[in-house]
Amino acid sequence: MEFLSGHYAYWFIFALMIVGLYGMLFKQNMVKKTIGLSIFQASVVLFFVSIASKWNATVPVKSDQFPVENVANYLNPLPHTLMLTAIVVGVATLGVAFTLLITIYNRFGTLDEQEVIEKVQ
């Protein structure tokens, strides 16, 4: 039981990953695949954020309430900063992905993967 309830965050992240993978693998529409990709990346972002968390800690923004030396009062800022970068990377990837999709749509007139494969043949 502890295995399930103690790690609920990880289970949630895991579920998100599965949703994302499902979207990428089983959806024919390429926009939906991209959404799946985005969800997949989001789940990893959430993972990092979750490992930064501590009980009774606040966001890692300098506050007058707690001196900075009391590390236990602040969440671990490092994973947050890493994820800022990762989110930006994700956005850039989405941008490239959508550019590609626009081009594909202009050339093939469809965003359905199966139809594009047939047209490519």
Partner: protein, 494 residues
């Protein structure tokens, strides 16, 4: 003094030239290529200087960004491995970009300056991956290079954007898996710095998280390295991309991913930790072996040169990863020598393919006949040298990497791997000699072909010289390989 800044200088050069190149191209598109070649040339020069200084002094250069000490700060680490790889990829990029002028004009027309800017970003990403000493920083550069490569592949024929999209999906999944693996490692070690982690991981040998992280990282990078069975994106991507793009990505991309595997397995985890965890090294070796055979067999079945070369690449990366899995000095040296050899060989072959596309208009192997050799003798000469090296005949470079890998497998008494290496050489011979037969003998000439009337229609100097340099380079590497391998033995960790 200068040497401490060189690792950064190499990476920064590409950034600089990406910006300058784009800016100048607004005024005059013809400046794009020379600037890109200059950028690659300067980076190569820096790589050479840094490498020579490393050989002389033997000390690892650690550049701390903003003077923040690791593990707080991010650092670039220039050691034997990263120096060697950066030298190889920058030189090959220089040669390929030098060659690209005619093909870029023909394939991209008014958009060719875009190619050069993106190429600079691509090399930025690759060099960053090689130089960095921080695992997350590696992810950033990995994504930079990946995005650039998606863009480069998309500028191709009609099907290219679709191939690029599929590559994007798989590639990003790979990168994300790597990120997840890094996250796992962070939770148990608290650091992202490679050198720090190397000190900590031996104590965490039995930790399931460490093992899981390793699998994730290997899987993620394995996608980029086209390790069987994660190679599926490669044939379509390389085939549908333009000749100019594939000539740049093919020799370099998978090698840098292989470098990351080397770095993580041998330097971060360390050979002892790796072997004592789970028998992953043997599994990876097996996958690599399957990839070697699969790639060669598929290549035989191809009718078009670029697709053939793409499957051949899957096969060749298998050698490199098999060498890694052997975990002994000979395997290590053989694999890294093969990185060098394959970069040269594949670059030469893709440049040849580009030349053929330019003048013949196609690269359908089964439509080749001896008029090709008459029209483009220099190009085919380069092809012949690269082909003989791929098959592994001495004294060209290709023989020696196979020799060291063979010794490495014997040392581990790994007879299956030895057999795989040898059989694949034979398979390589089939699809390469087939082309040589078509081009150098009259057997496939159409009946109405008047050979005497065929005039030489070779590419210009910028199309020939790079091919010749690479081809002669293969002979030089072959004859001087003892020195190279001696160096590689020295940097083998453990």
């Amino acid at each position: 003094m200068i040497e401490t800044h060189l690792p950064v200088a190499i990476v920064f050069t590409y950034l600089l030239f990406a910006v300058i190149g784009t800016a100048v191209s607004f005024r005059n598109k013809d400046w794009a290529q020379p600037l890109a070649v200059l950028g690659a040339g300067v980076a190569t020069l820096f790589s050479i200087i840094a490498f020579i200084s490393f050989l002389n002094e033997g000390e690892i250069v650690r550049y701390w960004f903003g003077n923040w000490q690791p593990p707080v700060g991010i650092e670039f680490v220039y050691d034997g491995l990263s120096g060697f790889i950066s030298l190889v990829i920058n030189f090959v990029a220089f040669i390929v970009l030098w060659h690209s002028g005619a093909n870029a004009k023909a394939e991209f027309k008014s958009k060719r300056h875009v190619y050069y800017s993106v190429a600079m970003l691509l090399m930025l990403g690759f060099n960053g991956m090689v130089m960095t000493g921080d695992l997350f920083n590696l992810y950033v550069f990995l994504e930079i290079s990946s995005l650039a490569s998606y863009a480069l592949i998309a500028i191709g024929n009609k099907n290219a954007p679709f191939a690029a999209f599929r590559y994007l999906i798989i590639g990003t999944v790979g990168g994300t898996l790597y990120l997840l693996g890094v996250g796992f490692l962070y939770t148990i070690t608290g650091t992202l710095n490679m050198i720090d982690m190397e000190a900590m991981l031996p104590m965490l040998m039995d930790n399931n998280v460490a093992i899981a992280a390793l699998v994730l990282i290997l899987g993620g990078i394995g996608v980029k390295a086209a390790l069987f069975p994660l190679h599926g994106w490669l044939p379509d991507a390389y085939t549908n991309a333009s000749s100019t793009s594939s000539a740049l990505i093919a020799p370099i991309g998978t090698k840098v991913a292989a470098y990351v595997l080397f770095r993580v397995v041998l330097y971060v985890y360390g050979a002892d930790t790796f072997e004592s965890m789970i028998p992953i090294d043997y599994i990876i070796g097996l996958l690599a072996s399957v990839g070697i055979i699969y790639g060669s067999v598929m290549a035989i079945g191809q009718k078009e040169l670029k697709k053939m070369l793409a499957y051949s690449s899957v096969s060749q990366i298998g050698y490199i990863i098999m060498g890694l899995s052997l975990m002994n000095p000979f395997g290590f040296a053989g694999a890294l020598l093969h990185v060098l050899n394959h970069a040269f060989m594949k670059a030469c072959l893709f440049l040849v393919s580009g030349n053929l596309r330019l003048k013949l208009g196609h690269t359908r192997v089964f439509d080749f006949d001896s008029s090709v050799a008459k029209k483009q003798p220099w190009t085919m000469f380069g092809f012949t040298v690269a082909a003989i090296s791929m098959v592994g005949l001495p004294p060209l470079a290709g023989f020696f990497s196979k020799w060291y890998l063979a010794i490495g497998t014997v040392q581990n008494s790994n007879w299956l791997f030895l057999a795989v290496i040898l059989v694949s050489s034979l398979l390589n011979a089939v699809y390469f000699f087939r082309i040589l037969e078509k081009v150098y003998t009259n057997k496939d000439n159409p009946a109405d072909l008047d050979l005497d009337a065929v005039e030489q229609d070779e590419v210009g100097f910028n199309g020939k010289a790079p091919v010749m340099i690479l081809a002669i380079g293969l002979l030089v590497i072959g004859l001087t390989n003892a020195a190279i391998v001696g160096f590689l033995f020295n940097i083998f960790p453990g």
